[in-house]
């Protein structure tokens, strides 16, 4: 066992176990018991997450809290995290209690099974970020979708079947290709150990195929344009908490996959296919933002905005430099919080009026002033206002890609204009304006439960915006590892600054005052 750990205690296994036990316990429980079990389980996991973060040794060993147990030949129970995984686990355990809170009153039928599904999903999501064995990762990665199918398919809206079917079909295609690629890799490298694979050099020719196979899976999960169409339907049909966790954590699996597998394992192929990723990301930013502009359904609008934000993630990842990579990680964290919070905000009014039609609302600033404040904060964070979490990630990612290509940077930066347009247009129609519908005008402001969900999210959004160092520090070294791995292969930037005169001053230009 290497790296720091909590007195040799298998904390990662415990974090997987707690929700699993909760899931089993709540399966047959009644509604009141089940939601209490779920809340307690997720809060315990959150507490464990805090312990995990606190005992993580920044700048220490690359892989910490490692656990290892050979289950049977060729398959190992092997866990361990680096800083990248740490922050994503923190995001997961932070959002889960909020999801349980969001479901508190709105889930009535088959509540025991509902909470069981959620808790199972938490186990599997944490499993994805902790797995150090390729197949363990695969199982967690794919199985994590099963509870999501169930949540959409059973507790979703009117068109839930179509939505979950679409979700299934898309992800299935990608998974199959990725699995085949994994088999080949394990054969070639002789190990399924992820840290080893991250330093293994695959033949350049094979890399391209492997990259594409993984890309098929990650691009769908991300989702990247044009394989994004499952997301709006899934979001629209999912119950509030389902949307929160989908936007908050599940969409991050694609990005995690890129930074954990595609970039370090296939650096040459990543560089080779970078223009493809750039092209799709540019298309996503412009196209899905424009689509978001004409939506009438609040959730669909935010879902399309998610696609645009995720494109900023891929742009940052394929900028091949520290700023881009760190930026995309911060975008992932920030989007997890902000999109989650926005779906939560939609849920608040959906619970009251049972419609997602934008036009049915209006003038909420009058009868729900505190709600309006939170919604404004999250809207601004989504737009990327400096001082909120949204800005830091977006800024770093775009700054990163600018060093590679000014065209890509220009096109993707238009997202700040379009993002402002669709989000403010939404805000204007829902929160501002006159009260035109009596039922919407009669909605009460946030209750205590809703305050308890909104305040932590708002606090972290501001924290990440004003002092992102807390989040950047744990992953700095691990990002640097990835960066070094891809540095040799990275394409040359288009700026190619030429300095005419021989100037000793240029050398000290980097030195900040």
């Amino acid at each position: 066992m290497t790296g720091s750990s909590v007195g040799g205690f298998p904390i990662l296994s415990l974090m997987l176990l707690v929700p699993l036990v909760g899931a089993v316990a709540s399966l047959k429980a009644n509604r009141e018991q089940a939601r209490l079990i779920a809340l307690v389980a997720t809060l315990i996991d959150f507490a464990l997450g805090v312990v995990l973060w606190a005992s993580y040794d920044i700048g220490g060993a690359q892989w910490q809290f490692t656990e290892h147990a050979a289950v049977f030949t060729g398959f190992e129970w092997k866990l361990g995290i680096d800083g990248i995984a740490l922050v994503l686990i923190a995001l997961t355990v932070f959002l889960m209690p909020i999801c349980i809170g969001a479901s508190w009153n709105s889930i009535e039928k088959r509540a025991g099974e509902y909470y069981a599904a959620f808790l199972l999903m938490e186990t599997l999501m944490i499993g994805v970020f902790t797995a150090q064995d390729l197949f363990l990762f695969y199982i967690m990665f794919e199985a994590g979708l099963i509870p999501m199918y169930l949540i959409i398919g059973i507790w979703g809206g009117a068109d839930r079947i179509y939505a979950s079917y679409k979700f299934f079909l898309y992800t299935l295609l990608g998974s199959v290709l990725m699995l085949i690629a994994m088999f080949w890799m394990v054969n070639e490298a002789g190990t399924s150990d992820i840290p080893t694979l991250m330093t293994h050099h695959f033949p350049v020719g094979a890399q391209n195929l492997l990259f594409l196979a993984f890309f098929a899976s990650f691009a769908v999960k991300m989702p990247m344009w044009p394989v994004h169409t499952w997301l709006p339907d899934a979001h629209v049909q999912a119950p509030t908490a389902g949307s929160v966790i989908l936007a908050g954590v599940l969409l991050k699996m694609g990005g995690y996959g890129f930074i954990r597998f595609s970039l370090p394992m296939f650096p040459e192929a990543s560089a080779h296919f970078a223009p493809l990723v750039w092209g799709l990301s540019m298309a996503a930013v412009v196209i899905t933002s424009l689509i978001a502009l004409v939506q009438h359904d609040i959730k669909k609008l935010i879902a399309y905005s998610s696609v645009a934000h995720m494109a900023i993630v891929t742009i940052g990842l394929f900028a091949f430099n520290q700023q881009g990579l760190e930026g995309s990680m911060i975008v992932m964290l920030s989007h997890g919080l902000v999109a989650g919070a926005l779906f939560l905000a939609v849920g608040v009014i959906y619970d009251r009026l049972h419609t997602r039609e934008i036009d049915r609302y209006g003038g909420l600033a009058i009868n729900m002033p505190y709600y309006a404040v939170f919604f404004l904060l999250f809207t601004m964070a989504s737009i990327g206002l400096p001082g909120t979490s949204g800005f830091v990630g977006e800024f770093l990612s775009l700054l990163g890609i600018y060093q590679e290509s000014s065209w890509v940077a220009l096109v993707c930066t238009t997202g700040i204009i379009l993002g402002a347009a669709y989000m403010l247009y939404l805000y204007r129609r829902v929160v501002f304006g006159a009260q035109k519908n009596a039922d919407a005008a009669a909605m009460p402001d946030l209750d205590a439960r809703e305050w308890a969900m909104m305040v932590p999210l708002a606090a972290v959004v501001l924290w990440m915006g004003i002092y992102p160092e807390s989040f950047l520090a744990p992953m700095r070294k691990d990002i640097a590892v990835v960066e070094q791995r891809i540095d040799a292969a990275k394409p040359k930037g288009d700026a190619n600054v030429k300095i005419a005169a021989v100037t000793p001053v240029a050398a000290e230009a980097g030195e900040a005052k």
């Binding site: 299934f168 169409t229 600018y402 347009a421 002092y467 950047l472 600054v497």
Partner: protein
């Protein structure tokens, strides 16, 4: 100085949080006291800093606050920088803000949402102070966006009004177009310099950028030109320069104190501040400076032409602001940064004065903003009249060469002389544009005064006045909001032959008059008192390198031909004479003129059709494209041939598959698991 700057900047933030969160629980008076008090303290602390720079005692200080972002070799922190340039902005921002806070006690006294209003005002002030104290480009961008947020919230303060919401959104989105340039500019600066620290960039700019080229969008340009023009696009958005100006007139939907603070004195001058702050960088690119000169000159001309036809008192002043910002930019463009800052300084006082004066008129006229329904107010609201007159004397630049004059006389003439003295083609273009705009400025400013305060009352046609009269007589049973409702035509049954409709305007309360008087003093004296510090030869001492101070240009500007020195005076009196003739001597003249030049009039009245153009070129196509990408792209193509197509194939395939997509989710899950187990078994067995 380091502790006082912390208080100056963060006290308004604290006040905004207290007033904003406390809101109605806290009550009206406490929230107003907290915010206004905070601003007066900030103001009181700012003047000593400014005066110590003026006396030459102070040196630049950077006060670190908190680390912000470190990523690779990118590293920047929250820090407050104070130098001469910041000191000028500090007094402008805190003084006008404090006075506007005070003024709002009176102006907003009937408003049920006062704590929110004052919280926004203080929040704005905080963001603006962060902008002017920025030590790196990213913090400047923070302030930049922060003031944008506050502006958005304040323009949309009356959020029940659709027009206010539309204007707020437009302001934010149009500004974001500029921000696109600003952001790319920051990226480029980091790429070239490896830092976003302003002093480091400025220090290295001449050496690094000299003869340097950069690839941008597939072409190669001079590095300095690319960087400066990108950054300047940001400035164009914030400072409402031609092309990105369309939000500013609409921003007049906000309450008038907001217009005075944000859309006249402070926020809109942020672009000018930025160019001056980065002046050593801009100096490395004559092309970029030429662009700045051209945009500034074109804006000052364009906005002045439009200003002559508007009838809404606030819109006239808004276009006037736009035009004056153009002056500041071409001053910077020709290299007279000191003059640009000086005009920014004087303009802050007299333009805030004009707006607050207009607010006082609007207050007296029961929310009526259309000057066609004013007239004869001179005797009714004498303090406002004199304040507005002082403002008008200042903006039109009344003064005698080599003797003395009002504020605008010093700053505007300095700009025009510098433009002439610079001696390039573009600077001469700017000079003539500036002279012509000065003529128009004089005309529309006096037109405003004459229409408002002179002649006979024309109040009876105003719906607002009619409502007021109804209210006063207890006839009003509509129970509607006067500010928001144009729909009701309560026709007047009190026929008054004097055009007053029986309405009696009252002078504003004393809390509104104090700011007017203070600003009037500023408008009269600011130029006379401070011109030596800002623009005389040898005042590099004052700036201490905070901006590029071109001694040669100042020297040349002082020795321009006599006709150049007298030209502003000539056009100013001409404009006054035309206004006097058209609106006092022969009031039928404007109508006749409009009839004669109907096309020109419509062109100007419709603001050169910019809004219509943008609607056709940007807004409509964006929505159309959005619908096409959605309905045709996503649904028609991707879904049809993707998942739905797959479903169709499967449907044709077998009955089993038909069952599969009838939606038993458990069976999907089962399939999935079975597949997984199979796969794993295969691995193990192999």
């Amino acid at each position: 100085m380091s502790s006082s700057i912390l208080i100056i900047v963060f006290l308004p933030l604290l006040a905004a949080i207290v007033a904003g969160l406390g809101n109605k629980t806290l009550g009206f008076v406490p929230s107003k006291l907290v915010t206004t008090g905070a601003l007066f303290i900030s103001c009181a602390l700012s003047w000593p800093i400014f005066l110590s720079f003026l006396s030459g005692d102070a040196h630049e200080v950077v006060v670190p606050v908190l680390h912000w972002v470190k990523s690779g070799n990118l590293d920047f922190a929250w820090a407050l920088r104070v130098d001469a340039l910041t000191a000028v902005m500090l007094v402008v921002v805190t003084s006008v803000s404090a006075l506007v806070h005070l003024y709002s006690w009176g102006y907003m006294s009937e408003e049920p949402d006062q704590p929110r209003f004052f919280a926004y005002l203080s929040l704005f002030t905080f963001a603006m102070l962060m902008l002017v104290t920025a030590d790196n480009l990213v913090q400047m961008f923070f302030g930049w966006e922060g003031v944008g947020l506050a502006s958005y919230l304040l323009i949309g303060f009356w959020f029940r009004k659709p027009s206010a919401n539309a204007a707020a959104m437009k302001a934010f989105v149009v500004n974001r177009v500029g921000d696109l340039g600003f952001m790319l500019g920051i990226f480029g600066v980091f790429l070239v310099f490896g830092t976003v620290s302003i002093p480091a960039i400025l220090h290295n700019a001449p050496a690094v950028l000299n003869g340097s080229t950069i690839g941008f969008l597939g072409y190669r340009f001079h590095t300095a030109t690319v960087l400066c023009i990108l950054l300047f696009i940001g400035a164009m958005g914030k400072s409402a320069q031609l092309g990105l100006h369309t939000w500013l007139p609409d921003a007049m939907e906000g309450p008038t104190p907001v217009s005075a603070l944000i859309h006249a004195a402070t926020m809109v001058t942020a672009g000018v501040f930025m160019v001056c702050r980065l002046s050593p960088l801009f100096e490395t690119s004559p092309t970029a400076l030429g662009f700045v000169t051209f945009i500034g000159a074109a804006t000052c001309f364009f906005a002045a032409t439009v200003g002559t036809t508007q009838t809404d008192i606030k819109r006239v002043i808004a276009y006037s602001t736009c035009s004056q910002l153009g002056y500041m930019f071409f001053a910077a463009g020709v290299g007279a940064y000191g003059a640009a800052m000086f005009h920014l300084f004087t303009h802050a006082f007299f333009k805030a004065l004009l707006f607050l004066g207009a607010g006082s008129v609007i207050h007296a006229m029961h929310h009526e903003q259309d000057m066609r329904y004013y007239g004869g107010l001179r005797k009714k609201i004498p303090v406002t009249f004199w304040a507005m007159t002082a403002g008008t004397l200042a903006i039109t630049g009344v003064g005698i060469v080599d003797v003395a004059g009002f504020a605008g006389f010093y700053s505007k003439d300095a700009i025009l002389e510098a433009a002439y003295a610079r001696g390039t083609e573009l600077s001469h273009f700017a000079f003539f544009m500036g002279i012509f705009a000065a003529l128009l400025t004089s005309f529309y400013s006096w037109r405003l005064v004459f229409l408002t305060f002179f002649g006979k009352p024309r109040w009876e046609q105003s719906e607002h006045i009619q409502h007021a009269v109804h209210d006063a007589h207890g006839h009003d049973d509509h129970g509607h909001d006067h500010a928001n409702d144009h729909a009701h035509h309560g026709h007047d049954d009190h026929a008054h032959s004097d055009g007053t409709a029986g309405y009696h305007p009252h002078e504003s309360p004393v809390v509104m008059l104090i700011p007017l008087i203070v600003l009037s003093i500023g408008a009269v004296l600011a130029g006379f008192v401070f011109n030596h510090a800002f623009i005389s030869e040898g005042t590099g001492e004052f700036w201490k390198g905070a901006l590029v101070f071109n001694e040669h240009l100042i020297h040349a500007a002082h020795h321009v031909p006599t006709w150049v020195k007298w030209a502003p005076f000539g056009v100013m009196t001409t404009g006054l004479a035309i206004a006097l003739y058209a609106y006092i001597v022969n009031p039928r003249f404007p109508a006749a003129f409009v009839e004669q030049f109907a096309f020109l009039y419509r062109f100007l009245l419709n603001k050169w059709y910019f809004d219509e153009l943008y609607e056709v070129v940007f807004v409509k196509p964006a929505l159309w494209l959005g619908r096409v990408f959605w309905r045709v792209g996503d649904i028609g193509i991707i879904d049809r041939f993707g998942p739905n197509g797959a479903a169709w194939v499967v449907k044709q395939g077998s009955r089993a598959a038909v069952k599969l997509q009838t939606g038993y989710l458990n069976s999907y899950a089962l399939v999935m698991l079975v597949g997984l187990v199979g796969a794993i078994s295969w691995v193990i067995a192999r």
